[in-house]
């Protein structure tokens, strides 16, 4: 200690204070940014826990037509084929999230946004969609259409 000159001591003190100041500044900026960033992202809303939905009577769903309905928060498309069978798929395109539509003439599913095409089973067959549409299960119980999640088993 004793062999340090006065200016050297001053310098050391200054750089020490500088470090404290800089650290303090960084901590201060972080303590402002962190709560703001957290504020900007909305809280997760509880997933609406829907297991199945009731779409009414089979007789009231015309053949070769489709309907988009809500399943929890997500829209799904329910199709009744010419044969009378039902098919339920997620309605949002796997490309960029547009709602798809059922093409009666070809029994295909089409997305208008970038001309994506799926077959009736939801498999992507042309255009930009990278994945098939997720499947939902359709059961007929006492003449009613019940759509539920596919069980993964």
């Amino acid at each position: 200690m004793s062999n340090l000159t006065k200016t050297e001591i001053k310098k050391e003190r200054r750089s020490f204070l500088n470090t404290i100041l800089k650290t303090g500044l960084v901590a201060w900026v972080a303590s402002v940014i962190y709560p703001v960033a957290r504020f900007l992202v909305p809280p997760k809303t509880a997933e609406l826990n829907v297991n199945n939905i009731d779409l009414g009577l089979v007789a009231e769903f015309p053949k070769n037509s489709s309907k988009i309905v809500r399943f929890g928060r997500k829209p799904i498309i329910v199709i009744r084929k010419e044969s009378g069978d039902f098919k339920a798929l997620e309605a949002t395109c796997t490309h960029l999230d547009c709602n798809v539509q059922f093409k009666k003439e070809t029994e295909q599913i089409w997305c208008a946004c970038h001309n994506g095409l799926y077959d009736i089973e939801g498999k992507n067959i042309s255009g930009p969609p990278p994945k098939p549409l997720a499947q939902f299960k359709v059961d007929i119980a006492r003449e009613k259409i019940i759509v539920s999640k596919m069980d993964l088993s």
Binding site: V41, R70, H95, C98, A112, P128
Partner: protein, 354 residues
């Protein structure tokens, strides 16, 4: 004592006046280009003015937004005019900003010492696109709804931060009334504030550094070059250009109104013929023709990478085109600009014709 003298005693207006009078505008074949930045500025002022008027009646929210815009255009006196002017001026604003950018590019005005002017200009262009994207959703109609779904989904595909960005933009997992409120805040508070600050820097730089001329003109000796004073000569010409543009907007607003279309419905299919705003068309069209998978990456991600890299190169042009500092035109950069314009025009036209 005049007001000028009164103020001059306190804040030295004379030096400001002297500075303003010193500025000259070069006269050569490209002098008309100097109007483009000014016209963009004027259009921004029109947007601020009409935007503030719209705020007085507009009500964000999934149940009120569409209805309030309908109210503005059908019930409020001259409401239709204010909305039409805001919509048309928004489009012209982006158009002129693009024109301005390309003339500046080919004049090589970004070369030393004006790198920062180019960079602030690019930031302004990004903010303008942000204005367009966020404003487009506000009427809460069908087209806007799907455009926003697609646009925010693209943000969601960005690696690492995608999920965060998507929830940040949408204020949730889906495009909903919460998204609308958020876009309203972005459109009418966040962006105007940021834009004003960056615009201020951009304009100060232009004032301090004066107008640049292309390298060919710069080679002519100073005494042989023609110029006119900015005040009052060029300022009056600018005013004339602004007046013409204002008339153009009025004509467009009256004869080519923008449709409001049907209200957004989360349970409707995206309608056939859906299109984004024209200035996003070339990107939209590209996304349409990128296959589902390119090599091992998803097409969507490939598209994002393509545009990010392209955008970044364009942003950094002053630092990449080093030869421009010596007044040399490298064929590479000339072709880069020309091909970019051709690409944008061809894909846009293609998008509208198919």
């Amino acid at each position: 004592m005049s007001i000028y003298e009164w103020m001059n005693e306190r804040i030295d207006l004379d030096s400001v006046k002297k500075f303003a009078l010193k500025k000259r505008v070069p006269i050569f074949y490209g002098s008309v280009w100097y109007y483009l930045g000014g016209v963009s500025l004027f259009l921004f002022m029109v947007q601020v003015f009409t935007g503030i008027l719209l705020i007085l009646y507009y009500q964000p929210g999934a149940e009120t937004a569409y209805e309030s815009v309908k109210f503005i255009i059908s019930r409020v006196e001259f409401g239709w005019l204010i909305r039409e002017v805001h919509s048309w001026s928004a489009n012209l604003f982006i158009l002129f900003a693009f024109f301005h950018m390309f003339t500046v590019f080919f004049a090589k005005a970004y070369r030393k010492p004006r790198e920062m002017t180019w960079v602030t200009g690019m930031i302004l262009l990004m903010l303008s696109l942000g204005f367009g994207f966020s404003g487009y959703l506000l009427p809460w109609n069908e087209l806007a709804y799907f455009a926003t779904k697609v646009g925010s989904d693209i943000a969601g595909a960005v690696p690492v931060i995608g999920d965060f960005a998507l929830r940040l933009l949408r204020a949730g997992d889906e495009v909903s009334g919460a998204t609308l409120t958020r876009f309203y805040g972005i459109h009418t508070a966040l962006l105007p504030g940021m834009f004003t600050v960056v615009l201020g820097i951009h304009l100060i730089l232009v004032q301090v550094q004066g107008m640049s001329v292309p390298p060919e003109i710069e080679k002519i000796p100073e005494e042989k070059r023609k110029s006119i004073p900015f005040f009052p000569d060029f300022a009056l010409q600018d005013a004339m250009a602004w007046l013409i543009v204002l008339n153009l907007i009025a004509l467009l607003a009256v004869f080519f109104p923008w449709d409001l279309g049907p209200k957004a419905d989360p349970l409707a299919s995206a309608p056939a013929g859906i299109k984004p705003e024209w200035y996003f068309m070339f990107m939209f069209q590209t996304l349409k023709y990128i296959p589902a998978h390119v090599l091992f990456i998803e097409g969507e991600l490939f598209g994002i990478m393509l545009f990010s890299i392209g955008g970044l190169i364009w942003f950094l042009v002053p630092f990449l085109d080093k030869k421009a500092n010596d007044g040399i035109r490298t064929p590479f950069w000339t072709w880069f600009g020309i091909l970019l314009i051709i690409y944008m025009i061809v894909l846009t036209a293609w998008g509208y014709l198919t």
